[in-house]
């Protein structure tokens, strides 16, 4: 039986996109000098012109953040800081639909995800951290832990507003002020968040947003007035940041790349596992640093599971991100699409077997069909490099030890998954897997109370939970 779905587009009338945006510095929008276009990756329609921040814009933002830190924010009690965060959380909830539509337009991810996952988690992050603001003495960091000062935060395009929340909420709760740069292709929700700061009457300069590209980010990293860097993005840029701050006293948290192993034992519940695999790699078009991008199957069930997976993949609806029925939206940019295409071609060239369900992709915009590769070996580029797209590499194993060796055979260590009905095996595997987040019989779950971050070259430090606070505080005496 085939279900046909009529289009069910979410209205975009709720958002009001300006023709041009400036930076948000010291509580006000200030016009930028140079601009670049931000587009809807599903249609290539130009949505707005974004300011390209330079060294002087960053300098103004840092100066504003320093002033706000010394004059207002550090003098405020934790209780009052927390109340600002609660206000922000409430306004985000009130304007959730507006944020969801805007995020979907600018990023290309399905409205189902922005509406049900991204934006609710954003509000939850502010609500969670609001409560910490006056309870930091109980965070296990000694009595009266102290903020660093001005935090420079650079975030990626895959979860634009959610990554802003992961950065801004803990920074403010712990008493730091912020200079944040959203990703080049996804600035709009950050700029709408600036309006939320105004509505919440957050003191001027506590949150400053400078838009731009990599050079803007570098200006933040290198600014002497920044005390702490928080970066989410590629491992390459993470290493550059580590080198750039080597001769300084700047602290850094880095949330970088991954090549998550999703290990399926032969006693796993196959139907649930298939759902978990699909969620692991096709959630957010696979633009997820912790994606389960390497599926490692026990040989006895591999054929059966791959068949089930193909049947399930054929039901994935690829298309208009604003359509409420859409599962897989647009690839965020032409550049990212080229990268995915290049790595998928390498998979073909190196001898892995590619399969995608039949699906019609729009001629306009950036699209990539959900794809699996079978017959992948550990030497293949598609088993080693982060694709950051809806492409799954499938490997097999015979013994549990072999599964763990393959899973851990990567310089990354961000996430892993394990599927089995046997409790002792689950606990054994979660112990053996060298990753900061291990999902057992589930995948890609996030919560503000749950620490997130990687081992090895997946980065430094944690975000979320009690552990995430440590990044923004100096140990109390």
């Amino acid at each position: 039986m085939t279900f046909e779905y009529a289009p069910a587009p979410e209205s975009r009338a709720i958002v009001d996109i300006k023709a041009k945006y400036g930076h948000f510095i010291d509580g006000k929008f200030v016009p930028g000098k140079k601009h670049f276009a931000t587009i809807n990756p599903a249609t290539e329609e130009v949505l707005s012109q974004i300011s390209l921040g330079g060294v002087s814009d960053v300098d103004k933002a840092v100066t504003a953040a320093q002033k706000a830190y010394t004059k207002t924010w550090s003098k405020l009690s934790g209780k009052e800081r927390g109340k600002y965060l609660y206000r922000i959380a409430r306004i985000l909830q009130e304007r959730a639909r507006e944020f969801a539509v805007l995020e979907t337009l600018d990023n290309g991810k399905p409205i189902r995800e922005t509406r049900d996952i991204d934006i609710p988690l954003v509000a939850a992050h502010f609500f969670y951290h609001a409560g910490w603001a006056d309870k930091l003495d109980y965070a296990g960091l000694g009595k009266s832990p102290q903020p660093h000062g001005v935090a420079g935060q650079i975030i990626p395009w895959n979860f634009p507003l959610l990554m802003l929340a992961w950065k801004v909420a803990p920074a403010l709760a712990t008493g730091n002020t912020v200079v944040l740069k959203p990703a080049e292709t996804t600035s709009l929700t950050a700029l709408l968040f600036a309006e939320v700061c105004q509505q919440a009457e957050l003191p001027d300069g506590v949150v400053n947003i400078v838009t731009g590209d990599g050079s803007t980010g570098a200006a933040i990293v290198n600014h002497p007035g920044i005390h702490k860097i928080a970066f989410t993005g590629s491992t390459d840029v993470g290493k550059k940041i580590a080198r750039a701050i080597a001769g300084t006293n700047k602290k850094a948290t880095l949330e970088l790349g991954g090549k998550g192993a999703n290990v399926v034992f032969d006693d796993a519940p196959l139907d649930e596992t298939v759902e978990g695999i699909v969620n692991g790699i096709f959630f957010n078009q696979g633009h997820v640093c912790c994606a389960g991008s390497r599926l490692i199957l026990q040989e006895g069930i591999a054929d059966e599971l791959i068949e089930k997976l193909k049947i399930r993949m054929a039901k994935i609806r690829v298309g208009d991100p604003l359509d409420k029925n859409t599962d897989l939206g647009a690839i965020n940019s032409r550049e990212q699409l080229s990268k995915i295409q290049e790595l998928a071609s390498a998979g073909d060239a190196e001898g892995a077997e590619r399969w995608s369900p039949a699906c019609t992709l729009s001629a306009k915009g950036f699209w990539f069909a959900p794809t699996i590769f079978t017959g992948v070996t550990q030497a293949h580029r598609i088993a080693r490099e982060e694709i950051f797209g809806p492409v799954l590499s499938i490997l097999t194993f015979r013994t549990p030890q072999e599964a763990i060796e393959k899973a851990n055979n990567t310089p990354f260590g961000l996430s892993a998954g394990v599927w089995s009905e046997k409790g002792s095996r689950i606990l054994w595997a979660t112990q053996q897997l060298r990753a900061g987040v291990v999902w057992a019989n589930t995948f890609n779950k996030f919560d503000p109370a749950s620490p997130f971050g990687g081992y090895k070259e997946s980065g430094w430090g944690r975000e979320g939970g009690k552990h995430g606070l440590a990044a923004y505080l100096k140990e109390g005496k």
């Binding site: 296990g140 880095l254 589930t442 070259e457």
Partner: protein, 290 residues
């Protein structure tokens, strides 16, 4: 009554002291440096003391191989067991406190009293760190109340192989290795200059304690030479650079960025954050349901 000298087998000269050859400590054994190089430790008061090995890059690589091989087994030992092994080191050190005091005094020139105090502090550090082995999860772990039918917990795990470059003192060395190993890491220690004398005697304590081979590996020599190699070694996960000159730390951090090593330095104050700095938090999710 015969004086001690007269008891000498050779009636014409006092008994000649049997001096120790100072070697490296790698994988529970005492090899010489593969480079064949040594350096001289001497003092104004006593003159020549010894020729410890001047460890080479190859020695460092060998030590990392040993440390990596030993790591999973050491991490798998129960926390109770690791705690007892660390405590046992304290016991054995206590029994030989006088020897270490005299070696520290001889090599560094501090008074006998000061040297003895340093050994006693070092012993108490082992006792303090030993007790942490089974409390790290309580202090640095959590169960997290996520919004959904999931059991979610965070536990600290050892990072793997940690290099340590302590300052030129016995206590600085103990302060670097004890917090690194108590969680289940293995260590490659780069011990500079005259600290080699007491530290290599301490290796004898380790060799006869219950510590598995390869958990602590000790190289003596020069930080200037060894530390950049350790910083760029791709199979070292963390680096305690407390003993590295402040002006040279930036170069170490740049080299360490290649595999995003966790590089830290500490001011010497006793804190469990020195342990946690070389641990990673792992968060596990599992659904709850019938």
């Amino acid at each position: 009554m015969a004086s001690p000298k007269k008891r000498s087998t050779n009636k014409s000269a006092p008994r000649l002291e049997v001096k120790k050859t100072f070697k490296l400590f790698i994988n529970g054994a005492f090899p010489r440096s593969e480079s064949g190089r040594v350096y001289e430790v001497s003092s104004n008061k006593s003159g020549f003391i010894a020729n410890p090995c001047l460890a080479s890059r190859k020695d460092l690589r060998d030590a990392v191989v040993a440390a990596r091989a030993a790591q999973s087994g050491w991490a798998k030992a129960t926390a109770y067991n690791r705690g007892q092994i660390l405590y046992r080191i304290a016991e054995m050190l206590e029994g030989r406190a006088d020897q270490f005091a005299s070696e520290i005094s001889l090599a560094s020139g501090v008074t006998a009293k000061k040297a003895h105090d340093e050994v006693l502090v070092a012993i108490d550090r082992w006792v303090w760190y030993a007790g942490w082995s089974d409390k790290l999860s309580a202090a640095f772990g959590a169960t997290n109340p996520v919004s959904g039918p999931y059991y979610n917990f965070t536990i600290p795990e050892p990072q793997g192989v940690i290099a340590v470059a302590p300052a030129e003192s016995f206590l600085a060395f103990i302060d670097a290795i004890a917090p690194a190993i108590v969680s289940g890491n293995t260590v490659v220690a780069l011990v500079p200059g005259s600290a080699a004398i007491a530290v290599m005697s301490f290796a004898e304590v380790l060799a006869t304690s219950d510590l598995p081979a390869g958990v602590i590996n000790i190289l003596t020599g020069s930080h200037d030479e060894l530390a950049p190699w350790a910083a760029s070694h791709m199979d070292i996960d963390g680096f305690d650079i407390s003993g590295i000159d402040k002006k040279k730390r930036s170069e170490i951090k740049v080299a360490g960025a290649e595999n995003l090593k966790r590089i830290h330095s500490f001011d010497g104050a006793l804190s469990p954050t020195r342990i946690y700095a070389f641990m990673e938090a792992k968060t596990v999710w599992h659904p709850i349901g019938v």
